[in-house]
């Protein structure tokens, strides 16, 4: 197993963990954290491919991760603000009860 | 310690003394081991030096505070078991022994793991920040390209420890204090970083050694090119100082442990050794921030005048560090504590806009670096006006409607 494969397996596991959290947990905050984990897993991939990729001097992976970090920060801020708004509306943060957008 | 790129042999004997001492201790080891031994030695040296500095600092603080209030301060504890008092020099030792022997209380219902972990994490993180500060021409524990970023990354996590302490204590006051600490630290992280960004901009480097290197040289032959001696640098330094006071929970920003409102804040349920650890971490954090301030604004280990270069650089760093720490204590002795709304207002309505404007000033400074000597006064005047104008205007906004109070019934 090459190091790159190891890194990718690591990130796959992390991604699956995040996915499971999103699927199973009903607390909106934890779902959000699961999404963050998935985002992190993607970042891991970027770094791994940068490290073992064909043109590390170009630094695309690193640049992309920097942007992804900024987006993650924005996502967390907005997401948690949404959670707080949700809490204000229904006095809890259970995602299953937030069904106002039902078609 | 790993010597930086500078040629160690070019420096004087005094300058190389710490390195020589280290080599004398570890010179005999084979290569991979030697690196480990050197690193370990550096860590031990930092822990030893700054722990003793912490001990002396507590004493100094009490002495200075007492003197400001026209008291002599602690002067009883001297050499143990003798009659030598040494002006109270043994006080830190006595304090330490007292702390160690006190009963360690964990409240019922508290989260024992986190309650235990909080002071440890806090101390560990505080110690981590010392790794990137250049203590001398040849004394940099770790040479990092993103040293400043590392410093703040390590420092940012201290908030977490405070939160852990407050939450794990299962005490309303502790939790309130933790929330306050979070709000305060997040609020002041921003001006702190924004005050550092101009320095990074002008030095063109995120590494602490690079920043010190950018402050080399003399104007007119004797005025050091420290960043504090430029208009934007002065403004940055003052913002940095204010934010650093708040970041290290020092008076007048010691709201998280405001005893009149919150008993002792997140420290309420701590006693004995854990309390001592908190105390130590707090002082170490303050020292680290002061060290960073010295590095960023006061020229690091550089001598203030050209002919004073023969004094070893680490002595200069130490002197500057002590001076800055003294300023911290002095400020604590002078100002009363702010209210929580004043605290956040100061950060968001004053420091952050000021720091942003100052960033612009620094950019202007960088852009006008090529101006001819004839235009230098214009450059200085412009930058000074850009610094002073917003300060006055924002300050007026901050103090609008405030008058000296008159007490009718007091």
């Amino acid at each position: 197993m090459s190091p790159l494969q190891a890194c990718l397996l690591f990130s796959s596991a992390l991604f699956s963990l995040g996915l499971i959290a999103v699927l199973v947990r009903s607390n909106a905050i934890l779902v959000l954290l699961g999404v963050e984990l998935m985002l992190n897993a993607a970042n891991l991939n970027f770094i791994a491919f940068w490290r073992y990729g064909p043109a590390p001097a170009e630094g695309h992976g690193v640049v992309f991760v920097v942007f992804a970090l900024a987006v993650a920060a924005a996502e967390a801020a907005v997401g948690l603000a949404l959670v707080i708004a949700l809490h204000r509306h229904q006095r809890n943060v259970r995602l299953g009860e937030a069904r106002r957008l039902r078609g | 310690m790993n010597p930086p790129a500078a040629d160690p042999l070019a420096a004087g004997l005094l300058e190389r003394l710490p390195l020589l001492a280290r080599d004398a201790l570890t010179g005999a080891l084979p290569e991979p081991w030697r690196w480990w031994a050197n690193s370990l030695l550096a860590i031990l040296a930092i822990i030893f030096v700054f722990s003793s500095l912490f001990a002396l600092l507590t004493l100094t603080e009490r002495k200075v505070l007492a003197r400001v209030q026209n008291r002599p301060g602690p002067n009883r504890a001297g050499l143990p078991l003798t009659r030598f008092r040494l002006g109270g020099l043994g006080q830190p030792l006595a304090d330490g022994i007292k702390m160690l022997t006190k009963e360690d209380i964990v409240p019922r219902g508290a989260d024992p793991v986190l309650h235990f972990l909080a002071p440890v994490v806090l101390l560990a993180l505080s110690l981590l920040t010392f790794a990137v500060i250049p203590y001398g021409r040849l004394l940099v524990p770790v040479e990092l390209e993103a040293g400043v970023l590392y410093f703040f990354a390590a420092g940012a996590a201290t908030e977490l420890a405070l939160f852990m302490a407050g939450w794990a204590s299962r005490n309303k006051y502790s939790l309130l204090a933790a929330m306050r600490a979070l709000a305060q630290l997040i609020s002041y992280e921003l001006p702190l970083l924004l005050a550092v960004v101009p320095v990074v901009l002008l030095a063109g480097s995120l590494s602490t050694t690079g920043i010190v290197a950018a402050q080399a040289g003399w104007d007119l032959g004797f005025v050091p090119r420290w960043f504090i001696l430029t208009p934007w640098g002065l403004a940055s330094f003052l913002i940095f100082l204010t934010a650093a006071l708040a970041e290290s929970n020092r008076s007048p920003f010691d709201l998280p442990e405001a005893e009149s409102e919150l008993i002792a804040g997140h420290l309420t349920e701590y006693s004995g050794f854990k309390y001592a650890l908190f105390f130590m971490a707090e002082y170490l954090g303050m020292t680290a921030l002061a060290g960073l301030g010295v590095t960023l604004f006061l020229g690091g280990w550089r001598a203030p005048l050209p002919f004073l270069d023969f004094v070893p650089s680490y002595a200069w760093f130490g002197l500057k560090l002590l001076a800055l720490l003294f300023v911290f204590i002095w400020i604590r002795a002078t100002f009363p504590r702010l209210r929580i709304d004043q605290l956040t207002r100061l950060a968001w309505k004053f420091l952050v806009p000021l720091a942003l404007l100052n960033l612009g000033t620094a950019a202007l400074w960088a852009l006008t670096a090529g101006w001819s000597p004839a235009l230098q006064p214009l450059r200085w005047l412009g930058a000074a006006a850009l610094v002073a104008g917003p300060f006055v205007l924002l300050g007026r906004g901050l103090t609008a409607g405030l008058r000296p109070r008159t007490y009718r019934f007091a």
């Binding site: 796959s12 009903s26 990729g53 920097v66 259970r94 | 979070l182």
Partner: protein, 165 residues
């Protein structure tokens, strides 16, 4: 490889426990540990700047926001919310399926072995890249962050009419 294995194990363990715990504070703190693990991975891979940025952003900022959100939205009394158990098994099945797919894909793909040595890509190079070819994206990100923060403030602070009751 040993270091990578240790980092991966710790990170995954922290994340797994965090997502299984019922106490949100504990899970948030453990998640922070896993984020630190990811930062350690970046360090291991030689991306120094990204590692510190990860710590600064995740540990310094996002975790604080998470903790605030947890404290602000805790149920006033009573134990933590009970999970509806019906979703757990299919959830794990689906997660396992995705993991299996990904692992299969990773293991069956002919991946470049790489040079092995950490590439020389320091802060200066990163800065040149960010402000050179990627300056537009940087500006867009800055605008996104500003808008997101404003939006977050508006969302969290809004007092709609339906709340007045």
């Amino acid at each position: 490889m040993t270091a990578l294995a240790a980092i991966a194990l710790l990170t995954l363990a922290a994340a797994a426990i965090a997502l299984a715990l019922r106490d949100l504070i504990h899970s948030a703190l453990l998640l922070i540990a896993s984020w630190v693990g990811i930062a350690a991975f970046y360090l291991w891979a030689g991306a120094e700047f990204v590692a510190f940025a990860q710590v600064l952003i995740y540990v310094g900022a996002i975790s604080m926001v998470v903790l605030f959100a947890v404290l602000l939205t805790r149920p006033p009394t009573g134990p933590a919310t009970r999970e509806p158990s019906g979703r757990a098994v299919p959830g794990f099945l689906a997660g396992g399926a995705v993991l299996g797919l990904l692992a299969g894909a990773v293991l069956s793909s002919p991946l470049p072995a790489g040079t092995g040595a950490a590439p020389a890509f320091g802060v200066r190079e990163l800065g040149l890249k960010l402000l050179g070819p990627h300056a537009g994206a940087l500006l867009a990100t800055a605008a996104l962050l500003t808008v997101a923060l404003l939006g977050a403030v508006v969302l969290a602070a809004a007092r709609g009419k339906e709340d007045a009751s």
